[in-house]
């Protein structure tokens, strides 16, 4: 039914928007491999081969080795904690009936719309009072709480949809709730759990405001915070800045390319439909 013209127009538009989406990305990449002496603060094409040394410089001179280590640690703990806590809570919300469960569940859903900006001010003063600012805890605990809103909502939707017959069968076989969850439901829930894991990973890895507020010493900086400070100090050094940007974006992009369905599904699932 469609004409050749329609077809060509469609692909033309898709190609145009693909180029628009990729221009800044390619710009960053080409600058990252460019020469450091270039005074151009804009994008430049690498002349005289690829300068891999920019990455080494960002790693050592820009201390991105340390920052990456911090980011890996914080992200790993937040993702692990969110996953375990969200699976446990969502299991109860999804398959058990008990007084107050609806109210409690809605308390978790509220967290999806509460902006961080409203939380970060009291959190800073609380954690400073507890002498936890400038520690990994100040990054881990608030981000776990915020990820739980999504995690509980997401996993509860999954457990609700999972076959009641399976749960009944497990119960008749004498499995208690704990065994049913870990031996039966969690193995089945692997796709839903991996969606939650990649989304939490991305949010935590990219988080900036919390790190900016909670961390003032260099030892606990995460990569986005490192980049912001790096830009403040070396704004003329476009090549190093771009190399550092690539180092930050790469882990998420690699996982994204491998598991793009999970990312898209999870991010669109975050728009609460209650």
């Amino acid at each position: 039914m469609t004409t050749r013209l329609e077809r060509n127009v469609t692909y033309g538009i898709l190609a145009l928007f693909t180029v628009i989406a990729l221009t800044p990305v390619i710009g960053i990449l080409s600058t990252a491999f460019g020469s450091q002496s270039s005074l151009d603060t804009g994008f430049s094409l690498p002349k005289g081969g690829l300068h891999w040394s920019n990455f080494a410089d960002a790693w050592s001179r820009g201390h991105f080795g340390t920052y990456l280590g911090n980011s890996v640690l914080v992200t790993a703990v937040v993702v692990a904690a969110t996953t375990v806590l969200a699976v446990l809570a969502a299991y109860a919300f999804g398959v058990m009936r008990f007084p107050g469960s609806t109210v409690l569940f809605h308390l978790f859903v509220i967290g999806l719309t509460l902006p961080q900006e409203a939380l970060v001010v009291p959190l800073y003063f609380d954690l400073r009072y507890a002498e936890l600012t400038d520690s990994y805890w100040a990054l881990i605990l608030p981000q776990t709480a915020q990820s739980l809103a999504f995690g509980v909502f997401w996993m509860r939707t999954y457990f609700r949809g999972s076959a009641r017959a399976v749960i009944e069968a497990a119960r008749i076989d004498g499995a208690n709730t704990w065994t049913t969850l870990w031996r039966v439901l969690v193995p089945m829930a692997r796709p839903a759990i991996s969606t939650m894991v990649v989304i939490t990973f991305m949010w935590t890895w990219n988080e900036f405001l919390m790190a900016l507020v909670m961390v003032s010493d260099e030892a606990h900086r995460t990569v986005p915070l490192g980049l912001a400070f790096f830009q403040g100090q070396h704004s003329s050094d476009a090549a190093l800045l771009a190399a550092a940007s690539v180092l930050i974006a790469l882990p998420v992009v690699v996982v994204y390319v491998a598991l793009q369905r999970r990312f898209i599904e999870g991010m669109l699932g975050g728009a609460v439909k209650e």
Binding site: T2, P115, A249
Partner: protein, 302 residues
Amino acid sequence: MKATAWTRAYRRRAPGEPRAIGYVYILPALIVYAAFLLYPFGQAVWLSFVHWDGLTVATPAGFDNYRALFSDASLRAPFLHALLLLVFYAALPVAIGLLLAALMSRVRIRGMTFFRTVLFLPQVLALIVVGVAWRSILAPDGLLNDALRAVGLGGLARPWLGDYTWALPAVGIVGTWVGTGLCMVLFLAGAQRIPRELYEAARMDGAGPLREFLTVTLPGLRPQIAVALTLTIVAGLRNFDLIYITTSGGPGNATSVPAYEVYHRAFETNQVGSAAAVGVALTVLIFVLTVTVSRLVEGRRA
């Protein structure tokens, strides 16, 4: 003995259905969530009713901090900027996405996975990285100005992010870049699910492209439009990273937004109460807008 008695009582009360144990499963998550999200939000509400510099004793402020949101021009401006930015962050991406979905809805697209991956890419990049990339595009000797000069429009070239008039739209365009792919991916997927027969029926009835869009594509995409608007509005209002890295609210306060104002007031000028009020007002704004979207677009009571 005791255990079996307990088990029996438990079974009798809930034949096959676990009950009280549900609280045990929820407890760990609830503790973390309450301590680091619910409780701080309550504190934010409390802080919004006091004057506090973060060090000395707080004094009650009544509704002063909220009244200032309307009376103080330096607080009104961020909210106006945020609403204006929503045109770039939410309205434009949705409009572009719809237009393209309309143009493409009649073609089965090959290589959709590739296009989807690339178009959605801006969504997964750290906004700090996006900000760094766009700073160099919008820089005085950046890609945009170079391109303008190359096509003989050098007169239009300017330091986009340092210009009082153009800084806000420039930051807005970055948001449009981030959001458009999300809307396209959503709408394309939605449009491909609209039954072909509806289009054929519309054409049989002599509907032109515009009619077809209004009677078939647009109603068919309602749920996707609601999701797209919700996500882009919430992301647009929460936007702190982009503003911080590209303009820091400047020049002057030309690109100041509530999210940035919270940070600025609480941690740079020691007006903690006022910062909390901005944060709470931002929460209310997000809430009102998302509820409005679900009512208007989806036509159901939220």
